[in-house]
Amino acid sequence: MAVIVYTEHEDGKVKRSSYELTAYASELAKQFNAGPVVAVTFGNVADSELAALGKVGAEKVINFQGEGTDQVDPKLFFDNLKTLLDDTSPKFVVFGANNSGRALAPLVSAHLKYGLVPGVVELPREENGKLIFKKNAYSGKAFADYQVNTDGAVIMLMRNSFDYELGEGTAQVEVRQISGDRAYNIERVEKATGKVPLTEADVVVSGGRGMKGPENWHLLEELAEELGAALACSKPVSDMGWRPHTEHVGQTGLTIRPTLYIAVGISGAIQHLAGVSGSRYIIAINKDPEAPIFKACDYGVVADLFEVVPKLTKAIREFKEKQAGG
């Protein structure tokens, strides 16, 4: 028995979402008496970083290292996970609802013949001996309760779904060498480093067609900088090539659930809202008081963004300086 949780790191640090996943796994282990929580991670990262997952209940961290571990390869990663699954017969295997989850979780589910629930947003409940998970459905426009018909379950948890606190504890770290064949040969990777990834971010500043052009994005970059936020955009903005497609949120882009989503010059079309409606708070800046975004936000500013965004950035900076000073 065990609960296996798939964790990730970036720029030498375990991702915050991985802490959330591990904390969730620990709560599952406790609730269902499902044995120790074993975290798995691929690629080089300091033992001390991994051991800190003990603060959210991991007993052990297995770190696969070696050539090919720095980018997800569904075949290579799964073949190595498989040994671990067969050795521990976990009741639960927990992934994030992200790229790596989508690449690996279905393979794990097919291997274990466990039901897989993608986009889980809560701990499960038990009804008539069956596990029931609440999940995101209709691209954020609804939720669904899924019953798992098997003894164990594979879960893909949405970011920002589970509140946790850091406790005490140090996980035991075991390094293993990766072995096996790859699904494909990676020739190169293009990736922004040193920035908050959109799906990890607590605060997201997002721009729409109202921004008028890519040359104005510095306004949002400056606001994001003050808030430690990641940048996002609406679909037309990425269609026109103003911003990269990886920043596009909504029905055909990413679904995100940050603590705060700031929509600037975005009308709030239903397909856009689908990807962001899980945000805890939404603030909208738009000059049109009739824009549908004002039906879907917590706070709104009806104004010209070119005036109000720099003003807001400045006000935040001054507030932070005052805090730091006194």
Binding site: P118, G119, K135, L227, H245
Partner: protein
């Protein structure tokens, strides 16, 4: 070269979301159904490959009741060569993928490329491709943004990952899931619509794969409380809210 494109039926992106049968089922009355947008990108890519090369045959498949017939016909009108429908509304991705794989085994059909969308916009799973790859032992390449076939028959692919892209080469047979921009979705032409009428369309009995999960009920998210408007002349109020209530500064 043979290509299979698995397509799902989803409500139109602007369709109202409501449920019947105590939340178990989506309320279909009056709703326009479409080919899942991600599957449209996949189908369009298959069509691009067909235009580029002489030897491509494209089959579309859907595991669904006859409600999917008009969408499969549309795919034929767009240019697919054959359509197959497995006559069951699947309860989950495992059942859908399992039925497709059972049909492949039974029919003896073999495909070099199997496309699905990254996910459906109603189920939001993204599992069918992974399941098919796993059951067939094919290379699995999720979230593909660009695809070309090189002269020596390799797949030249760009995958999307969080905040970046991975450039890779892979062998066929492979299962590819499509993200937006893989190809420009196509509309059926008048000629295509005429031709679709005579193209092979077969309806198959399901093999009886059991789902691993069952939908118990759906519900709508709680409504946000009414939006509070902040006076742009008093933006400090918003800064207070960011600090005191939302606690991000």
């Amino acid at each position: 070269m043979k290509i299979l494109v698995a397509i799902a039926r989803t409500p139109d992106t602007t369709a109202p979301i409501d449920f019947v049968d105590d939340g178990k089922k989506y309320k279909e009355e009056g709703v326009q159904f479409i080919i899942n947008p991600y599957d449209e990108f996949a189908l369009a890519k298959a069509m691009d490959l067909k235009d580029e090369r002489q030897d491509v045959e494209v089959t579309v498949i859907s595991v669904d009741s006859n409600k999917a017939d008009q969408l499969l016909r549309k795919a034929l009108a767009i240019g697919a060569d054959k359509a197959v429908r497995i006559d069951v509304e699947p309860e989950d991705a495992w059942q859908a993928a399992g039925e497709i794989v059972e049909w492949l085994k039974k029919s003896g059909e073999q495909f070099d490329l199997i496309f699905t969308g990254k996910e459906t916009i109603n189920y939001n799973g993204g599992l069918v491709g992974g399941y098919i790859a796993s059951l067939l032992g094919y290379t699995y390449i999720p979230e593909t943004y660009k695809l070309n076939i090189t002269d020596d028959g390799k797949l030249d692919i760009v995958r999307e990952i969080e905040g970046g892209r991975v450039f890779l080469k892979a062998d066929m047979p492979a299962v590819i899931t499509a993200v937006e921009y893989l190809a420009e979705p196509r509309l059926p032409s008048m000629r295509g619509i005429m031709q679709a009428r005579t193209k092979p369309f077969s309806v198959e009995q399901p093999a009886g794969i059991e789902p691993l999960t069952t939908t118990v009920k759906h519900y709508l998210p709680p409504k946000r409380k009414e939006c509070k408007l902040i006076d742009p002349e008093n933006i400090e109020e918003l800064v207070e809210i960011l600090h005191k209530e939302i606690k991000v500064i």
